[in-house]
Symmetry: C2
């Protein structure tokens, strides 16, 4: 083993700082995330953080954007398989992500609804990315065809999924992870079926 | 016609002031609701408002509570009919209420998610009242039986309904009011059907 310090590129260093920032969510709400808090908790110099992120609100937004992109990337469905199976796999990662990052996720949802326009915009971007992917991954229209009506239904289904996963994480209501995933994955085609 | 002024009881007067307060939502967010604003816009004396409501945050909470109770009362389903028909009737009033009070409703949802614990508690109380009523009105279990699992599903369905109605009010996506109501009313039994 060498003890040589790894030299990071500016981009890698920035990503590392954003990862550290995202971890602050474990115990703090969005409003409490700041350069000063990260400097103190992670032992990073304030000067370095200001160098990378400019100011407090830019830093907070960069951390949230990083967390949202991470969620979208992690929940990418597998390349192969039937549409419903791939939706199920993607939902499984989503549920595990929410469980592993419950404070971050609840804090983001809360901040998005009641927070600044910038935070709301980041949250909506993340939601749009997840929604677009459902239509893109199902280009043959096996689950749903891309119309304004099915877009409205997918929006409702997303809100239901978010609410059910957050509620289930706090109180499983006697439902196993697999049963929850089954209800969520099957409900999307069922809802589309009901749409005129 | 007489020109005699009607003498209101203290309770009627208080309700009248809360109605006036709720109307402020038409152009203002929850945070902007205050005794001073109501006094100025409705030409009511500040002294009278402080007499009835104590302080600013008590006044804001009383206005929100009044709006939530009004929504719950207005959306009471008809006493007679099949469970799905009564759900449909109740949903119809809900959709019309959201359309007629769009700023108030959006502001309430936003304030509940990102606001103080008191506002969140009022919003949750309203939601619980609507949810409990679904189970109470369907005591024979024709649509759903009251279990922790169906409670979780109804919570998800409520979030979906709220999201779809708010989105539809902004952009109907080619769906008529009746089509929207049909999707919402039929989706509840469909979701319960999928629940193991």
């Amino acid at each position: 083993m060498t003890t040589r310090r790894t030299r990071l590129s500016p981009e890698e260093r920035r990503t590392q700082l954003l990862d550290l920032g995202a971890h602050l969510f474990a115990t703090r709400s969005v409003e409490e995330i700041s350069i000063d808090v990260l400097a103190e908790e992670a032992g990073v110099s304030r000067g370095l953080l200001y160098h990378y992120f400019g100011n407090k609100s830019d830093f907070r937004e960069a951390v949230i954007r990083h967390a949202v992109e991470d969620l979208v990337a992690q929940t990418a469905p597998p390349a192969e398989g039937e549409p419903v199976e791939r939706l199920l796999a993607s939902l499984g990662v989503y549920v595990d992500y929410v469980l592993a990052n419950l404070t971050l996720y609840r804090s983001l949802v809360r901040a998005a609804a009641g927070g600044t326009d910038e935070v709301l915009a980041l949250y909506e971007e993340g939601r749009a990315a997840l929604t677009d992917r459902i239509f893109r991954e199902d280009a043959q229209g096996e689950i749903l065809v891309d119309t304004p009506r099915t877009r409205l239904v997918v929006r409702g289904w997303s809100a239901m999924t978010e609410e059910m996963v957050l509620s289930w994480a706090e109180d499983p209501a006697g439902m196993t992870r697999e049963e929850l995933l089954g209800v969520l994955a099957l409900s999307l085609p069922a809802l589309v079926e009901l749409t005129p």
